[in-house]
């Protein structure tokens, strides 16, 4: 990413990203690289959280930006932030890959065996301080641990009720209750 883009204000940089997506929709390859430079680490983080394998995750990063190239015209800034749109595409592609390929159940929730410690890059505050994502993260922290973990497992691994119950080794009814109570807690928290 160019230094000029990094040094802008949060508002400037979000605007650059929206403008770049608009230019991508018009077929501007250089703008796609701008979008890639500004967001690929976050997109990769979303994907590696789900598929765990660097090689698979990097293939999926390519798929995300090829999708962006073909569908940038569908991005509507009125409906959400660019990074939410990109992360949604990334998650859907990663979960579909997971279903086709199978899960690496031997790894814990925060284990990324193919990544060296120095692969972690500093968080881009302008990406991470989205009001809604912070609100959700804060609300998740208010939930009971088993409720929160069940919801996060479902989200990041695409697991159904019965698959979750098997993974965390609790009766199906218990698991369903955790999910429902967790969602009720999130609703109350997010709804203020």
């Amino acid at each position: 990413m160019g230094a000029g883009r990094k040094e802008g204000t949060v508002t400037d940089r979000k605007a650059i990203l929206v403008q770049s997506l608009t230019a991508v929709a018009a077929g501007d390859r250089a703008s796609l690289q701008t979008v890639y430079d500004m967001t690929s680490a976050k997109v990769f983080g979303t994907i590696i959280r789900i598929v765990r394998r660097r090689e698979v995750a990097e293939d999926l990063v390519q798929e995300v930006y090829v999708t962006v190239w073909r569908r940038a015209g569908r991005f509507d800034p009125a409906k959400g932030s660019p990074i939410t749109w990109l992360c949604t595409i990334a998650r859907n592609l990663a979960l579909n890959s997971l279903r086709k390929r199978g899960r690496d159940d031997e790894f814990g929730d925060d284990e990324f065996p193919d990544l060296a410690d120095n692969s972690i890059v500093p968080a881009d505050d302008w990406l991470c301080t989205q009001e809604d994502s912070v609100a959700l993260a804060d609300c998740l922290e208010t939930l009971r641990e088993d409720h929160r973990r069940s919801i996060k497992l479902a989200f990041f691994e695409g697991l159904s009720h019965s698959e979750l119950a098997e993974k965390v080794d609790v009766p199906l009814g218990t698991l369903k209750s955790w999910i429902r109570r967790g969602l009720a807690g999130l609703r109350g928290c997010l709804g203020g």
């Binding site: 990097e58 190239w69 949604t88 968080a123 881009d124 919801i151 009720h161 969602l183």
Partner: protein, 248 residues
């Protein structure tokens, strides 16, 4: 978008959250799919949850990607553009056979279906359905969506009543164009089911010939075509949405 003042009751709102999270299966999933079609408030609640839960992905740690990834993206885009130019030239020359188009649809159905909203895929066999709607007769359901969920089509075919019901969003076409629905029987050529609205609900009776084509395993697809009031013989690329019909 719905909020916590949603008109649906608390239980349904939480069920919408389960649907958005992708944990429902079996009859619970079927019921949620039907509610998505029949109950706009439930669909709004699912959208509310989908957006809220979707922000969870943004909280992941960023990781540096290899330098080779961008080169791979450029190579893939080069290949796609070359392929698109070739396909466009073929269609322009009217040399592409209907079976060739069918093969394209089949490929697109596999590709797009794999990207259809993850929560739309039942993971276990359906339990006996006791709901009033299912007791009315067998139904076929298709839930089509593109990668970023900007274009969606949910369709229900009532096999007993010979009716087609759609709920569509994001398919608004430019002036002079209209979205057109296609059915592609397994191994067959695409057959137009006519123009559909770009958004909103749509319901009509099916002809006996359409009922014959609309069977489980057939592919439904949408393209943009000239808005001339005609059903077209051959679809125009690109394929906007495609996916298979599943029996409920």
């Amino acid at each position: 978008m719905a909020d916590t003042t949603s008109p649906i009751d608390d239980d349904a709102f939480i069920r919408a959250g389960e649907h958005a999270l992708g944990v429902l299966e079996g009859e619970e999933l079927s019921a949620a799919r039907r509610a998505m079609l029949a109950d706009g408030d439930f669909a709004d609640a699912v959208e509310w949850w989908t957006y809220r839960l979707g922000t969870m992905a943004e909280a992941t740690s960023p990781f540096a990607v290899s330098a080779a990834v961008w080169r791979g993206i450029e190579a893939r885009i080069d290949a796609i553009e070359a392929s698109d130019r070739s396909a466009a030239a073929s269609l322009a020359d009217r040399r592409m056979s209907r079976s060739s188009v069918a093969a394209l649809f089949a490929g697109a159905a596999m590709a797009v279906a794999s990207l259809v909203l993850f929560l739309a895929t039942p993971r276990v066999s359906e339990a006996p359905d006791q709901s009033p709607s299912s007791q009315a007769g067998p139904q076929l359901i298709a839930q089509l969506q593109d990668e970023d969920a900007s274009r969606k089509l949910a369709g229900v075919i009532d096999m007993a009543g010979n009716r087609l019901a759609l709920n569509v969003s994001g398919l608004e076409a430019e002036s002079g164009k209209t979205p057109e629905l296609w059915v592609i029987p397994a191994g067959g050529a695409p057959v137009s089911l006519g123009a559909i609205p770009g958004s909103g609900a749509f319901d009509r009776a099916l002809t006996p010939e359409e009922v014959r084509l609309l069977v489980a395993g057939s592919t439904l697809a949408v393209t943009f075509e000239d808005d001339d009031g005609q059903r077209h013989e051959t679809p125009t690329l690109p394929i906007l949405l495609a996916g298979t019909l599943d029996q409920v």
